[in-house]
Amino acid sequence: MTSRGHAAMNEIRVPIASDADAVTARQHGREAALRIGLSRSEATFVATAISEIARNVTTHAGSGEIVIHEVRDGERVGIVVIAHDEGPGIADVGAVLASDYASTAGLGLGLWGARQLMDDLEITSEPGKGTTVTMRKWSGMGVLGIDLDNHGS
């Protein structure tokens, strides 16, 4: 019998080769987040993080792919975004992740921003072996709230 748990549900794959694809990816991310019950703010955080990561893909690797899926962990539900490219890779992942906002540009800034917006973010990268960024946003850990945009106030 199929079991529940950490199953990857409702996977969406978006090839990233242009800035228009980035818009598509972030719209999918936003919709997936809303569908699974994240608030409008949380969904916007996800879309913004995707925007940054997608730009890194097109700028540094030319093309790649973003995969979005829902995830469930007990009572928590969330969105997982995995961005992969076969680009030049990052030589010092630690340094990029450690850099602070004021002194970064390009790759670093996008990743820094995505990390602020999402609940967790991991990077796997080696020069010549491409880059994979995995990030998650969970409901309930983000901005709680009734969706005030849909409230009759």
């Binding site: 019998m1 199929t2 529940r4 703010s41 309930g140 709230g145 009734i146």
Partner: protein
Amino acid sequence: MTDQLTPPAQAPAEGPEIDAELLRELVAHLRQAGTALREEWTRRITEAQLLSVMTPDEIFSEVTAVYDNYVDALESGSVEALEAYAKNLSERIIPRGVETHEVLGVVLLLRDVLARSLFEKYQDDRALLNRVLDAYEPAANRIAVTVSVSFVEERERVIRQQQVAIRELSTPVLKVRDQLLILPIIGALDTARARQLTEQLLHGIRENRAKFVVIDITGVPAIDMQVANHLVQAVRASGLMGARVIITGLSAEIAQTLVNIGLDLSMMQSVGDLQGGIEEAERQLRYAVTRTGDEPRNGES
């Protein structure tokens, strides 16, 4: 080719294939005896006084659907369809006031009704009965858990929403006069409440077209770094929407926490108490109006 008469009670060997065959047989039996078993189940539900908020017709129609899904799940080995149905059912019955113990009770009654039916059918052959139960038991358990968990998860979702609604009622954003909101915060502030507060504040700014917000934290004993960060973000976000924030009731301890997280306190305007904050906001609003009034319009060049 030899003709072999295999009497029903004699199974050749044990193994997963035999179990599958047995499962098919008992599924066929449950389908065949469906009407009678459903009626028995309904009778026992009523006897136990479960689902009292539902009418007999409603119970009958749900019983039919659950029974069919149950037997399908036994047959296919997949609980997906049953899960979807259980979620849908939960969404409908929770607002009616059906409780967890009722759902568990009803599911266990079905399990019992079906088990007894199997006992009756295979009672003449203990060995076969055991094998039948071996086939039935894990499947039935999995189904009971699936349905119950679906119900509980839906209840938890509803409770979460209600908690959110309660929180919203307890952190009101008040319109004092045109373009001026106040947000008096009382009690401990945790991250969740701070996020809730920010969201309400920003929506309040938009709804009321506020230019000033006075956030009074006289009633907040202390805040940790995380909450202080949220407060700073709330101030920044308000600014992005064109509203200036005045903080009032800032205690020495909280001021120290804010300084410790590297916040430049000059970025936030702070006034002693709520009344003073309101007056300051009104002063600035009046000043802006006065300036617009006095300044002669630029003629077209």
